[in-house]
């Protein structure tokens, strides 16, 4: 190599200079790239394309990963937000229902200023196939006593308190066989006795018996508490006449009553703690 450069070095230098000058001159006078640059470009072009493609693929993957990560994060945040909003909607619905109930109770209170109410939630519906009862979440701690009437916000009779504990009480509904109330047919004023009947209990109805001999009853007649004897307030809606029947002997008639209170869907009720029996 050393001998070669000693012998031909000048020639190589000269050739390189000639090529350089030629390329420079051609570049100067040409509108396109020089042939050498052109050749170089042509040769490297596929490599550049491949490089760009690979870099683009990696870039896409990186963007996809970052986007995916960001979307997952955003999705989780949105899910949380939706859950919170759903919770708020549910709460709003509950508040709205409670508001409606309280408004109706306010109307009832205005109609019966002598009633003293206590609000109670139902903690348990009937726990036996032989009784129809409810358990409420208040007792002697809120001055609840046996025989207090339990009503809905609309003034429909639910039942009578039968047992009281410190923070609970049991209510026998109007359907229970142990419930017996002085009743009055609102249209005619006829007095009778509304009683739970085991034959009717499973159908969600009760019996209105001991009616006067010539009492006329129509389907849909409203039946309210009579208030006679002063045990229970007068005018609480028990239910409406669903059917008029004759007893087994065929001598006296009785009515099958459908309670106005929807006993299965009740959640909150109101206990009448005291009332003026003179009204």
């Amino acid at each position: 190599m050393k001998d070669f450069l000693k012998r031909h070095g000048l020639w190589v230098l000269f050739a390189a200079a000639v090529i350089a000058v030629t390329v420079s001159v051609l570049s100067y006078f040409s509108n396109t790239s020089s042939p050498l640059a052109n050749i170089t470009g042509v040769i490297t072009s596929p490599f550049r394309t491949a490089y760009t493609a690979v870099a683009g693929w990696f870039g896409d993957k990186q963007n996809y990963y970052e986007d995916n990560k960001a979307l997952k994060k955003e999705n989780a945040a949105l899910k949380k937000q939706i859950a919170e909003m759903e919770s708020q909607v549910r709460q709003a619905q509950t508040d709205s229902d409670e508001n409606t109930r309280l408004r109706e109770l306010l109307n009832l209170q205005e109609k019966n200023p002598d009633y003293q109410y206590e609000t109670a939630s139902i903690t348990e519906h009937s726990s036996s196939n032989w009784t129809s009862s409810l358990t409420l979440n208040c007792g002697t701690n809120r001055d609840i006593a046996v025989n207090d009437c339990v009503i809905t916000e609309s003034g429909y009779l639910v039942g009578i308190v039968s047992q009281v504990g410190m923070n609970w009480c049991t209510v026998l509904t109007v359907l229970d066989t142990d419930t017996s109330l002085g009743a009055q047919v609102f249209r005619t004023g006829a007095i009778g006795l509304a009683q739970g009947d085991f034959n009717l209990m499973s159908e969600g109805t009760l019996k209105l018996g001991y009616l006067p001999a010539r009492c006329s009853l129509l389907n849909g007649d409203l039946v309210v508490t009579s208030g006679l004897g002063g045990y229970y307030p007068a005018g609480l809606v028990i239910g409406s006449v669903d059917e008029v029947k004759m007893d087994d002997a065929g001598s006296t008639q009785y009515a099958v009553l459908k309670p106005s209170a929807d006993l299965d869907s009740l959640k909150e009720v109101f206990i009448i703690k005291s009332f003026d029996s003179a009204n």
Binding site: W130, T131, T177
Partner: protein, 170 residues
């Protein structure tokens, strides 16, 4: 001393299982209606336990469970289950000792017997209070028995396991 500890363990297990089944009754079966009635596990528990353990333990267990029932469930008289469940225990034990050997079929028979006794008491009390609703009461009793019999295999298997665990040497 060994006998005492075995007895303690056996009754602790029976107590724990009873508690679990009472929770099942309170939290699940209370909200389930089959043919329009709720399954009622209490009489089955007394009958099946008495079938395995004999008359005295069965009657005592019935007394305790009956008392618990009367304290928690509304009833026509305050001591209905306290009176009936010990009888259920006695009859179930006598039946399994003298007529049908303790086993799955016997557990079904004593469960039906338990419901016959319990529901008969309900019907008599209804009649005594002027609510003689024989057909409706019989229908309710029949449905209640059938609905509860579906759960007898569970009670039978659990109580049998405890009985066998504690009587391995017998």
């Amino acid at each position: 001393m060994i006998g005492r500890s075995e007895t303690f363990i056996r009754w602790a297990l029976f107590g724990a299982v009873t508690l679990l089944l009472l929770l099942l009754q309170g939290f699940v079966l209370q909200f389930v209606t089959i043919w329009g009635v709720m399954p009622f596990l209490y009489p089955v528990l007394v009958a099946v336990l008495a079938m395995w353990e004999g008359s005295v333990p069965g009657a005592v267990y019935g007394l305790v469970l009956g008392l618990l029932c009367d304290l928690t469930l509304p009833g026509p008289i305050p001591c209905l289950y306290t009176l009936i469940f010990p009888l259920v225990g006695l009859f179930a034990a006598v039946l399994s000792k003298s007529w049908l050997p303790a086993g799955f079929w016997c557990s079904l028979v004593v469960s039906v017997l338990a419901f016959v006794l319990t529901d008969a008491a309900h019907v008599v009390l209804l009649a005594a209070r002027g609510h003689a609703a024989w057909s409706a009461a019989a229908l309710t009793a029949g449905k209640e028995t059938l609905a509860t019999l579906l759960f007898v295999p569970v009670v039978y298997l659990v109580f049998r396991s405890i009985h066998r665990l504690c009587h391995r040497d017998d």
